[in-house]
């Protein structure tokens, strides 16, 4: 069979969503960011809400998210995305508003904005990529770095006595009355990708219900920061990150 014979519409099982701009992603090969970008864009395409959606990009590796997502987007200062999203949603309540943030962005410098937007119950979706490290700036320790885990600013491993404990910000926001749906997912296997997609879809659908924040954590790898191959980093994630950050729903709507 030739290439032309294989590439036919009837053989197509999966294609790039139209809402993902046709250009190379700036992420390292094997990084979870790319997969989650695709899922968010697929969701918006499937819901038909491109014209109704405003996205907020963070700093960190996803700082250029607006280059890849074919929707109107705002780029926020480090950690401030939930504040931007608050105003956007308050001023245009009929729009779908989401932030896309890493752990350094959301759980370190932006802790206050995260907690308070969640506590106010802003009717927004927060997509939180937890790779346990600062990817973009070269692999420094993050609030979510595991005990004993190495990073460039804890080269001998995170010592919890001097460097503090990893912050389970997702469990924390789940305790707040303003969050409606809080879940932790991953994208290292096709099965997990499908579960994450479902969670993201639900998080967007929830905005119609006007019930508060939908918070989707995606535990992810940073093969560059962790200094591993993509395959090894996913295995390391399963062996080390997932026991500490167990997957599954943390808070689900009762009605």
């Amino acid at each position: 069979m030739t290439r032309e014979e294989i590439i036919k519409p009837e053989n197509l099982v999966y294609k790039r969503t139209n809402l993902l701009v046709d250009r190379a992603l700036s992420y390292c090969p094997g990084c979870g960011h790319g997969t989650v970008h695709r899922l968010v864009m697929e969701t918006i395409e499937e819901m038909g809400i491109q014209a109704e959606t405003i996205g907020i990009a963070p700093v960190g590796c996803a700082v250029l998210a607006y280059e890849f997502m074919d929707i109107d987007m705002q780029q926020a200062a480090h950690g401030r995305a939930p504040a931007l999203a608050t105003a956007v949603k308050r001023l245009m309540p009929e729009k779908y508003v989401f932030t896309y943030q890493g752990d350094g962005d959301l759980a370190a410098i932006g802790t206050a904005e995260t907690i308070h937007a969640c506590n106010r119950g802003e009717n927004i979706t927060i997509i939180f990529i937890n790779n346990g490290i600062y990817g973009m700036t070269g692999g420094q320790m993050a609030p979510t770095t595991l005990p004993g885990m190495r990073a460039s600013t804890c080269p001998y491993g995170r010592d919890t006595v001097t460097m503090g404990n990893p912050l389970k910000i997702t469990e924390l926001v789940a305790t707040l009355p303003g969050t409606y749906y809080v879940t932790r997912q991953a994208v290292h296997t096709p099965g997990n990708v499908r579960k994450t997609k479902k969670a993201i879809r639900k998080a967007f659908e929830n905005q119609k219900l006007k019930k508060g924040v939908s918070f989707v954590e995606v535990v992810s790898n940073c093969n560059s920061g962790w200094k591993m191959t993509p395959v090894a980093s996913n295995q390391w994630m399963v062996d080390n990150m997932l026991p500490f950050y167990p997957l599954g729903d943390i808070k689900v709507p009762t009605e």
Partner: protein, 362 residues
């Protein structure tokens, strides 16, 4: 609502003016001496009258970033604070200047540095006019000297902010914020409709429709050559402000042998000082910069005629605007500073005494 006269505090006038100017959103955090702005807005419930959103943020940092988010949607957003809070807003202000977003920021200045005092000051002049936040940017700074101007500068601020797509600061202080005066309120203006926003601010993130490319609000360009072009574009914009937006007022300058230069509440005091001095036969005039950026350099230089024997710059700080006055008049003209600090307000009598000591006698 018709034009109406009211007796109001400067802070209340700002808040009422924000509603009447058709603002879409106010985001703020309490700090003395400006908390009445948020309190007034909460009490007035503009959400019911005009649909204006009023929100008490968790911090000044969050408040200015809410303004960033709202402004990115083409909405008229305003925030207010006082000195320490404005320092916290500086990150957001720099981002807004970089991303070319319009907004109005009110700084009801108190004496600093640090926690300082809750009494009035003018010591944020440098921060307001020379940058304050990081990077190469400027913002138009309007300095009201009355409650009336506190109200009038809100719609003017929005107009200028949208004209240049840049933050505008109203730099007032605890005297003007707290004092009560008669104010003539302008008529309620409608908030912009979504159609008007899309037409007048086509750059805004209002949701990507099939008829246009996606809109992106960002201050980032990793490509240095593009970033340089962006900074040059901003520079040209700041130059346009300098060409078109200089505002100032003069008082008895025609035959003046001595000039006072002062802004805001200091200028009010100097006006009285001029009257007292004139009664004593000393020919004093006053120049009051209304825009602190762009600074009325040419006006000050033009008014410094051969007759003028010296200039006293009166400020509630250690000497900040005096640097701009010195640049305006050049060498050869005696320029001295008289300042009070820590929330103390100079009196007209002291001012004349200082004029006599530092300029006339010296």
């Amino acid at each position: 609502m018709m034009k109406e006269l009211r007796l109001m505090k400067g802070n209340e006038a700002v808040a009422e003016a924000a509603i009447r100017a058709g603002a879409d959103g106010y985001f703020g955090y309490p700090i003395t001496p400006q908390s009445e702005i948020l309190e007034y807005l909460m009490a007035e419930r503009p959400f019911e009258k005009t649909g204006m959103v009023v929100l008490q943020a968790e911090s000044e940092v969050a408040a200015i970033n809410m303004v960033y988010g709202g402004a990115s949607c083409g909405k008229k957003c305003i925030t207010s604070s006082s000195s320490p809070g404005i320092s916290l807003k500086m990150e957001g202000i720099s981002y807004m200047a970089g991303a070319e977003l319009p907004c109005v920021i009110v700084n009801v200045v108190r004496g600093g540095p640090g926690l300082g005092t809750i009494q009035p000051g003018q010591s944020d002049y440098f921060q307001a006019t020379k940058g304050g936040g990081h990077g190469d940017y400027r913002m138009i700074v309007l300095a009201p000297a009355s409650v009336q101007e506190s109200a009038d500068f809100v719609p003017l601020g929005f107009e200028l902010a949208f004209k240049y797509r840049n933050p505008v600061m109203i730099l007032t202080d605890g005297v003007i914020g707290q004092m009560m005066e008669k104010v003539e309120l302008f008529e309620q203006r409608p908030r912009s409709t979504q159609e008007e926003i899309i037409k007048n601010s086509p750059w805004a993130t209002t949701g990507k429709t099939p008829d246009r490319e996606r809109n992106i609000i960002t201050s980032l360009d990793l490509d240095s050559s593009k970033q340089e072009k962006h900074v040059i574009k901003l520079r040209d914009k700041f130059r346009k402000m300098e060409e078109n937006e200089v505002r100032y007022e003069t008082f008895q300058c025609e035959d003046a042998e001595y000039l006072l230069v002062a802004f805001g509440s200091s200028a009010r005091i100097c006006q009285k000082a001029v009257d007292i001095a004139r009664a004593k036969g000393i020919k004093v005039g006053l120049i009051r910069p209304i825009t602190l950026f762009p600074f009325p350099s040419k006006a000050i230089s033009d008014l410094t005629t051969d007759k003028v024997k010296g200039i006293l710059v009166v400020e509630m700080n250690l000497g900040q605007m005096i640097e701009d006055v010195k640049l305006a008049v050049g060498k050869g003209v005696k320029v001295e500073h008289y300042g009070r600090y820590g929330g103390i307000i100079p009196t007209p009598e002291e001012t004349i005494e200082m004029l006599q000591q530092k300029i006339i006698g010296g």
